[in-house]
């Protein structure tokens, strides 16, 4: 068994009670959708939009012929400039953007007022999205339940989140980086006909292929980590990654932080600004001067706090103390601003529960 020194509470697998509760909850959601005519809780509406594309051909003045997929109502087809290709079936599909309940009711009211007219938009309740709102509400409550204490429902949510997010990042990395930056240069023909039809042919396919072999090799070495032996080889790609970072950081730390921030800290300690009654006259500006003084003292004293080769004693110690005070003000202000953000996050989750799910907001 696992380490006896770590008694893990409730490590028995999901409790059957929780599982049954979950099942009942989802059943209730579906029942709400199908059995009861009057929805008091979440119901999501969508706007069914149909799309159609037909393949068309255009022969230019130079006799070169091009084909493209166009909407049947496209100006190019209506004008006869482009002609539909014979024997190719049109492709049709539906998209389902979400609409609010208000919009749905408005369209229904319009239909009721003018019976017999064809509706301009097809709005309907969407069972799959309604189920989604229920699932989302359940998962929201499952995470909140952790505040009470660790429990099987939270564990289910936690395991789900780990699995879903790991899958999400992998799929995302595949389509956004691996396909255009690795597979495309390695197999341009295949990529063009199956994955990215609009991929433009490179002027240097051989070079692109050769260059793409480098990250492929590095990636292969990285995956060697999964093999039972020789996993150390993965430090090669690791060294590449750290090298890239270090190279970028050498420049950016100086260019973006060190230089401009040092420059910003250099301020006149005595500031004169145009007088309110006479813009041509310069007068001593107490607040601006104070601000510069505070700014300069702050920067210098905090820098002293960060000196490592000197012990914080005597004058250095006193200056470092002032530095700590400045740090504390900085932290206090960061704390205040952060609290604000955290509370917004909670309001947003409550808005979801109250408005989208319970319909009481």
């Amino acid at each position: 068994m696992s380490n006896p020194t770590t008694p893990s509470g409730g490590a028995k697998g999901p409790s059957p009670v929780a599982m049954i509760a979950l099942l009942l909850f989802l059943l209730a959601a579906v029942a709400d959708q199908t059995l009861f005519s009057e929805p008091y809780f979440a119901r999501k509406y969508v706007d069914l939009k149909s799309n159609e594309r037909i393949q068309a051909r255009h022969t230019g003045a130079d006799g070169e012929s091009r084909t493209a997929w166009l909407e049947p109502t496209d100006q190019k087809i209506v004008s006869g400039e482009w002609k539909p290709v014979e024997g190719v079936d049109p492709v049709k599909w539906t998209t389902r953007p979400a609409v609010t309940e208000k919009e749905y009711e408005a369209v229904q009211a319009e239909l009721a007022a003018n019976p017999g007219t064809a509706p301009t938009r097809t709005l309907e309740a969407s069972p799959i999205d309604t189920l989604g709102v229920w699932v989302a509400a359940f998962l929201t409550l499952a995470i909140f339940s952790f505040l009470w204490r660790d429990n099987p429902v939270y564990k289910v949510a936690e395991s789900l989140l780990v699995g879903v997010s790991a899958g999400y990042w992998m799929v995302n990395g595949f389509w956004t980086a691996l396909v255009p930056k690795l597979i495309a240069p390695l197999a341009p023909g295949f990529t063009q006909s199956n994955l990215l039809p609009d991929l433009q042919a490179s002027s240097t396919p051989g070079l692109d292929f050769a260059l793409a072999l480098v990250p492929l090799t590095l990636g292969f070495l990285l995956l060697w980590r999964l093999a039972p032996r020789g996993g150390w080889i993965s430090v090669w790609p690791l060294a590449f990654i750290i090298g890239t970072t270090a190279g970028l950081k050498v420049i950016s730390s100086v260019e973006a932080d060190l230089l401009p921030q040092s420059l910003e800290a250099m301020k006149p300690l005595v500031v004169f600004s145009p007088q309110a009654d006479d813009a041509a006259k310069l007068g001593f500006d107490f607040w601006m001067s104070l601000s510069s003084l505070v700014g300069v003292v702050g920067v210098l004293s905090v820098l002293v706090y960060f000196f490592f080769s000197v012990e914080h004693k005597g004058a250095v110690g006193k200056t470092a103390r002032v530095g700590i005070w400045f740090l504390m003000i900085t932290f206090g202000s960061a704390f205040g601003l952060t609290v604000m953000g955290r509370i917004t996050l909670l309001s947003q989750r409550f808005e979801f529960l109250f408005t989208d799910w319970l319909r009481i907001g």
């Binding site: 699995g163 691996l178 930056k181 890239t244 190279g247 730390s253 932080d257």
Partner: protein, 233 residues
């Protein structure tokens, strides 16, 4: 040599090349190539992560370790995302090339992947994040104690910001005219003053320090002085 020499060489070479690419337009395109490699390797790390995730959880399931059922949930969710995402289930066709199946957009709300994102992943992450409002409250009660001068300074600053960033500022000090000699009593003026002048000074010094720290760390790596990431030879 293979364990330590080559990695140090790779590291220094990549780093130096990127520094050079910033200053020399001639090597700029090399820098671009390196950055492209970087994003490919970064994407491949996801496969490594997934492989490890599978190994750990499958091992847990097969040995029936406590909590194995949760591992099964993780694997099932992971597999579902991969199937939905790689096969682009329910994806809307690409309007320019509707016949090329894999050119479709898999992330729209019509697809299975999009549904999982909208109703599973997004509420879970957002709620996890929202827990912070509660933790911030308990930390306020428990940890923000006026133990010494430093803690007092922090608390007073936090109070000013907390009050000034809501309508409370208007209620408490809104009656002080903005252009009077005592305008600095106004909470919003105090908060702006603290943020823009004092906190910024502190933050500026922290930023300068961190920049030097980051530079030193980068140089230590590029010069091969810091070898902590390397295996034993």
């Amino acid at each position: 040599m293979f364990k330590r020499g080559i990695p140090i060489a790779i590291l220094s070479l990549t780093g130096t090349l990127l520094v050079a690419a910033h200053f020399s337009p001639m090597t700029q395109s090399w820098g671009e190539v390196v950055l492209n490699w970087f994003s490919v390797v970064a994407a491949i790390t996801a496969i490594l992560g997934a492989g490890n995730l599978l190994l750990v959880n499958l091992e847990k399931i097969s040995s029936r370790r406590p909590g194995w059922a949760y591992s099964a949930i993780t694997i099932a969710a992971f597999a579902a995302m991969l199937v939905f995402g790689f096969l682009k289930i329910g994806a809307v066709p690409n309007p320019q090339n509707p016949t090329v199946y894999f050119a479709g957009d898999y992330e729209t709300r019509e697809s299975a992947y999009g549904w999982m994102y909208e109703y599973v992943m997004s509420p879970l992450t957002a709620t996890m994040f929202a827990l912070l409002a509660f933790y911030v409250a308990s930390a306020a009660f428990r940890a923000f104690r006026a133990k010494n001068i430093e803690a007092n300074i922090l608390l007073v600053t936090a109070f000013i910001i907390l009050l000034a960033r809501t309508y409370a500022a208007e209620l408490l000090t809104g009656w002080v005219p903005k252009d009077s000699a005592f305008f600095f009593v106004r909470l919003d003026a105090m908060s702006t003053g603290v943020i823009e002048h004092v906190a910024t000074a502190g933050m500026r010094a922290i930023t300068i320090g961190i920049a030097l720290g980051a530079l030193a760390t980068s140089l230590r790596f590029m010069l091969g002085i810091d070898k902590s990431y390397l295996p034993r030879s």
